[in-house]
Amino acid sequence: MTATWSGRLRLILAPVLLGVVLIAFWQWMVVHFDLAPYVVPSPSAIWAQFTENLSRIATASGATATNAWWGLVIGVVLAVGWAALASSLRVIREASAPVVTAASVIPIVALAPVLYAMFGQSVQTARVMVAALAVFVPVYINTLRGLQTVAPIHRDLMRVYAASGWQATRTVTLPGALPFFFTGLGIASSLSVISALVAEYFGGPVDGLGHAITSAVSSSRYALAWAYVLGAVVTGVVFYAATIIVERIGLRNHPEA
């Protein structure tokens, strides 16, 4: 009991201590060398801006998070549906392979300006699509791999039991693919926030963290820009933590989860 407690305490305390030391060092650097805010503002100045503009940062985070969320939902639904098709139909699998490979190599945000031109600057469509496309790739690749990874012995068992196609899918294929799906989802949840935010750098409606950061920088309010970055960090962590919780629930019966 004491061992686990001290272990847990160290697990939490060590990173917190490191963080405090780093921030203190940062603060000392800025004060001691009298660094200009455009080089780097002090943590205290950033924190002051963060608390002062909390509601504006929350609104901007909410706008970006909404785009990221819809991108995530749309991307995951499409990717899982397409992976299911691809795993059962060889033609679709083979036809999709080059497109998916291409999509996994190019940075999806590069499409943002083109999508703004297609769907207009006044709507969020382009941002949601960038996030959805970015999400699609890792979820599709991992889910497909999971659906195709059935242990030979389990395949034999299903044949021994004369299980129907759907029975085999339900008992062996889907549960076996679940850890793969969650690996893809873990990558996708962070990607959705990053993509939605970076897409804002290229235009679109005047809301969201990405837009707020660029406009704060262009009006020389560097500490405020950093405060928005802090908001982006919080948004990303919330998405990631939510995914971890969903994964824990989804894989509660899987070993090594």
Binding site: A151, H154, D156, L157, R159, V160, A162, N253, P255
Partner: protein, 284 residues
Amino acid sequence: MSTPNESTPVPAPTSTSGAAIAVEVTGVGRVFGGRSGAVTALDNVDLTVAAGEFVSLIGPSGCGKSTLMRLIADLDQPTSGTVTVFGKPASVARENHDYGIAFQQAGLLPWRTVQANIELPLELHGTGRAGRAERARELLALVGLSDFGGHLPSQLSGGMQQRVAIARSLAESPSLLLMDEPFGALDEMTRERLQTELLRIRAETGAAVVFVTHSIPEAVYLSDRVVVMSPRPGRVQQILTIGLGAAGDRGEGIREDVQFFDQVGAVREALHGIAPAGRGMDLR
């Protein structure tokens, strides 16, 4: 091929005359086509297993013993010849759930509890929840794992997992058990304990067993008859009748018995008649 089969006294086992036949393999061949040419895994194999009889298939690696078992299970189809199980083609017997099967790997579904794993065949074949739970309880008691129904397979040792796999194979009270080196991956002590347990289970269920192994003592200890096979191409070299008494009467003591050693010697001799001698054999 180098050893002519004149030393093969294939006596029709007395038990089969008149009694029901569990497995009948007639003139079975299996050729695997490969890019580098065809490989004959089995060539003209005949084998009859009577209802309630325990038959072991033994032989060096590549003698086709596992292939033969997979043909009986309809996990693979013969290139020539016929396989019938309880008088039906193997495929029909499989679809009727006429046999239970266990492999060298336990092959449990890792995300299901031990109980849910044992219930799997019953669940797929439409047994109700209460009936499944009842049967699982009986089987868990039979394999000595009553306290572990709620555990996940990963929380169990290899020997315990293998016992779960055996319980699963018995779930539908089959009259035929197919076992492909089920104790092959276990340590010697666990292996001997499970062998004795299998004898007891078999005495209680009265099922016929086709048991693939590469261990001579294991084959002798468990079997009514031992089928010695030779490789390249896989053939039945000799069939030895082991007269150690009924499964229920065999205990650990038999391992020290003179008769046991005689039979082990006889099987070893039959195996050593195969060229190249004893390759890949486990002479423990």
